[in-house]
């Protein structure tokens, strides 16, 4: 597997999509479908969360089954900020990222000493511990979760309207994807991708493999924290369910459907999965059957994920 390199058509396609998304809220409003602005925001938030897992899993080669812990920690950090009077996202979001990143640093420092199945199990164990911690934390709402009194401010702008939150989320996602793309092509990205391929060789070339893995893991955690803080604003609640292992599983499915190790794999997966859920959940409560069929189809016919169908990851 070679290093990630963006396909040549990628930039114009992404720019066109970005423009289309900018026009989405007024378009939906014009057609009286404001409800879908919130749904679109949710898709973007999960695109961000899945991308953060893709950094850890697809680029860093770390099969974490505990990513939801950092997602949920970000949501709680935002809610706690709100309840202690920090209502500006310019401060609260970085704090949420720092909290989730720190948690990931601690979990990673321990988990990354193991490999393979043990790594999967220990990340899962940490996430479940975090889940039960929040469920039993009375002062943070226990299993009811911690509500936000209102949405935050972003600098001078209120995020109260769905459109404002949509644009703030789109901005966050765009920034993160630009950073992600630069990182993948920079020294750090090359190192983590090479470690994914052959960690012993990298060690023998003089790289402190553990340190690079840990930083990658913590970075993924911090970005998941940002997604969590956005979600808490959207739903007005930091719920312990966000830390459930099923949530980690959902993020994993998104990345696998979208394309593990493809820059936009997480985004593509989140869009497909949530659209599928949205369109089927009204038809039948057994929409998971369709999801299962989709997963089967992807694994059998596009084992590298849907993003892989649109071009090669490398030159």
């Amino acid at each position: 597997m070679a290093f990630y390199r963006p396909a040549t058509y990628q930039k114009p396609v992404v720019l066109a999509l970005l423009l289309a998304l900018l026009a989405l809220p007024p378009a939906l409003t014009a057609f009286g479908q404001e409800f879908y602005i919130g749904f679109a925001t949710r898709v973007l938030i999960f695109a961000l969360a899945a991308s953060s897992l893709n950094l850890v899993l697809g680029f860093g080669g770390m099969f974490s089954l505990g990513h939801a812990a950092f997602f949920g920690a970000g949501a709680y950090a935002a809610a706690i900020c709100m309840s202690s009077g920090i209502a500006d996202a310019l401060l609260a979001f970085p704090l949420a990222m720092a909290a989730a990143g720190l948690l990931a640093l601690v979990v990673g420092a321990i988990s990354l000493r193991t490999r393979g199945v043990y790594f999967i199990m220990i990340t899962l164990a940490f996430a479940q511990m975090a889940y039960y911690l929040f469920v039993s934390a009375r002062s943070w709402g226990g299993d009811d979760g911690l509500p936000l009194a209102s949405r935050m401010m972003l600098g001078g702008f209120s995020l109260t309207s769905d459109s404002a939150l949509f644009y703030a989320t789109l901005g966050c996602l765009a920034l993160v994807m630009v950073f992600f793309g630069r990182l993948a092509d920079a020294r750090f990205g090359r190192v983590i991708q090479a470690i994914r391929e052959n960690e012993t060789r990298m060690e023998a070339l003089g790289y402190p493999v553990f340190r690079y893995r840990l930083i990658c893991f913590a970075l993924g955690g911090a970005l998941a924290g940002l997604a969590g803080a956005l979600l808490a604003n959207l739903t007005g609640l930091a719920s312990p369910n966000l830390l459930q292992w099923t949530q980690s599983g959902t993020l994993l499915v998104m990345v696998i459907i979208g394309g593990v190790g493809y820059l936009y794999g997480g985004v593509v997966g989140a869009v497909i999965l949530l659209m599928l859920e949205e369109s089927l959940v009204g038809v039948t409560e057994h929409w998971h059957i369709a999801l299962g069929l989709l997963l089967l189809g992807v694994v059998l016919f596009a084992p590298k994920g849907v993003a892989a169908l649109f071009g090669k990851r490398h030159d």
Binding site: F188, A194, E203, A204, G206
Partner: protein, 251 residues
């Protein structure tokens, strides 16, 4: 006498009931090619793992370039000047030859931190120029952009060497560089190692006796975890204990 570049003292290691290494004393002088030979299962690979830092000894110490490196990890030993190549070709098969060597250059401490998240690595021309020079030294000048997986076996072995060289080692630890190469390729590999030996100290583990006796300044023989003999090729050839260990097959 000056202090040896690599000095292994009383190294012992037990695996369950097997004494893999028994109080091995071994040294490599700066500038020499020192070959380690021995029958299959003698403990050569175990020994190499202890020198490179992949395994820790039960007792004894490893000194390198005047310092005790026994407790250092593999990547830390690379930083003090020890580079190794692998018995089984161990390069990044999906990357071009140039990218493989550039990774090795980038890993060196004097090449700057790899915690750089923004600037495209491909724009760092100095790094790639240097990588190119190692490919030229190892005879791969024509194969710079070839994906490593498409290189011939002998070329992959040479690429392995280029990567080890790019870490600017004081000592190259070559673990069976001729393994699996045909006669022509191994002749080219011998030439290449001869050429490299002018610039860098080499610890060579090899089964190909013709190559060993041609390249080595000194040879050590490891049998059943014990070093039974160290000396010039002529000494070793004449040693009765060595002859017995090998039953005269190769010598």
């Amino acid at each position: 006498m000056t202090e040896a570049l690599l000095d292994v003292r009383n190294l012992s290691r037990r695996f369950a009931a097997v004494d893999a290494l028994q109080a091995v004393n071994f040294s490599v002088e700066a500038g020499e090619v020192h070959a380690l030979i021995g029958p299959n299962g003698a403990g050569k690979t175990t020994f190499i793992h202890h020198v490179s830092g992949a395994l820790q000894p039960d007792s004894g110490s490893v000194h390198f370039a005047g310092r005790d490196v026994t407790k250092l990890s593999m990547h830390q030993r690379v930083a003090v000047g020890m580079a190794r190549s692998y018995q089984i070709t161990n390069v990044f098969l999906g990357l071009s030859a140039l990218d493989n060597v550039a990774l090795a250059v980038q890993g060196r401490q004097d090449a700057g931190s790899s915690f750089r998240f923004w600037r495209p690595a491909r724009s760092e021309t100095a790094m790639f120029e240097e990588a190119r020079s190692y490919l030229e030294q190892t005879g791969l000048a024509q194969r710079i952009d070839t994906i490593a997986g498409n290189l011939a076996h002998g070329e992959q072995r040479a690429l392995e060497l280029a990567m080890a060289l790019a870490t600017k080692p004081k000592m190259l630890l070559l673990d069976e560089p001729m393994a699996g190469t045909g006669p022509e390729e191994s002749a080219r590999m011998v030439e290449l190692i001869e050429h490299l030996a002018r610039h860098v100290t080499i610890l060579l583990v090899e089964h190909d006796m013709a190559a060993v006796f041609r390249l080595a300044d000194r040879i050590s023989v490891l049998v059943n975890g014990r070093l039974i003999c160290t000396g010039t090729p002529d000494d070793v050839r004449a040693d009765p204990e060595v002859r017995r260990a090998y039953l005269g097959d190769h010598l």
